[in-house]
Symmetry: C2
Subunit: 216 residues, 2 copies
């Protein structure tokens, strides 16, 4: 392949979901190869970057609109062997109840199974995880991994899985309710034990949490 003056530019998406009490990531399997990668697609000139990222996922998922956020732009400049490749990477979250896949080319994989990624993708995944944890701690992004209504216990489990630590039930509830970002619905989740009130994200909520600044 000839080296062109301009680099090749692709969009890549790292899509997370929660399943089986673990954080999962969507991977693209390559025929007859042992490694996997994140879904990616050449840039489309008639779409915005975010639209390109959405369309990249639509190839594999029935879901309509997916929560997306630009993560970082990587370049593989140093590898002189190949065409210079620039990857604009997005980070995405999929609700629990929309995890069915529309293609055999992709699959869910636990984030801890990193052996199948190459080093560049491992780095991207690490960074995406850091961003996810960070966003989760300081904003209300956790809802994006749950269905429209959810119990406070569901929400707490989500945070516990991603942050990988146990949280105190009373403190968790106090703070998430004080933050005023969710509101109770009139629905209840039934099952074993006492039914739980289902909550929903307040559409008018200001999701950013006031944190402690270094300077007043």
């Amino acid at each position: 392949m000839e080296t062109l003056a301009q680099p090749l530019t692709e969009i890549k998406v790292i899509l997370f979901s929660l399943q089986h009490h673990a954080l999962q990531v969507l991977v693209h399997a390559h025929d007859s190869q042992s490694f996997v990668s994140f879904p990616s697609r050449a840039i489309q000139s008639d779409l915005s970057l975010e639209e390109s990222a959405q369309s990249c996922l639509k190839l594999f998922l029935p879901a309509e609109e997916i929560y997306l956020e630009q993560l970082y732009t990587y370049s593989d400049s140093k590898t002189r062997q190949r065409q210079h490749l620039i990857s604009i990477v997005y980070f995405a979250l999929l609700p629990n109840n929309k995890i069915d896949l529309a293609s055999e080319q992709v699959a869910w994989m636990q984030v801890h199974e990193q052996r199948h990624f190459n080093d560049a993708e491992k780095e991207m995944l690490e960074y995406a995880l850091r961003r996810l944890r960070y966003k989760l701690e300081y904003t209300a992004v956790g809802f994006e991994l749950l269905p429209e209504t959810f119990s406070l216990t569901d929400l707490q489990r989500t945070y516990e899985i991603i942050l990988d630590e146990a949280l105190d039930k009373r403190n968790f509830r106090r703070r998430i309710l004080q933050a005023n970002i969710i509101e109770p619905t009139h629905y209840q989740k039934k099952g074993e034990g006492r039914p739980a009130t289902l909550y929903q994200y307040r559409s008018d909520a200001v999701a950013e949490i006031k944190t402690r600044r270094l300077f007043p």
Copy 2:
């Protein structure tokens, strides 16, 4: 101009400095045109993105190594008239004492004078300013705008200019010293009034500040 399949990809740098008690940004003046833009440069395949950004600044500044951080990647896809352009934007900070320019093509401009930018660049600048304020509040990035040694008053002025609010002297000092990111030197700043102890950034400092998490 023909529309190519692949977009054109450039690096753009928004460089800030402090001068005359105001935040300044480096702009590139275009001959016989009334608008200005941020320095930019086509991607170089043999350099990493950050190296490209550094080289983009070296055209105009004698300074060696400049503090840089990737800001965001923008695309102008919707404008069908022109070649599709992708801009990988970096955000940079220059110490006070290195603001001399090596080229007539560029100049410092107060960040509030936004009338000379086009809408896309205005948006980038807004975002860069938000990032700068954010970083300043939660990390120790403020030092990057000052010489290697500085007085606590210098530092406080820096924060006040960028955050655009007055800070309490005692609280500021207490917290910056507790954060353990700077240390006193044996030098003093002389001038009118009592001489000030000069401080320097601790090279081994962990610059990230522990903030108040939404969840424990």
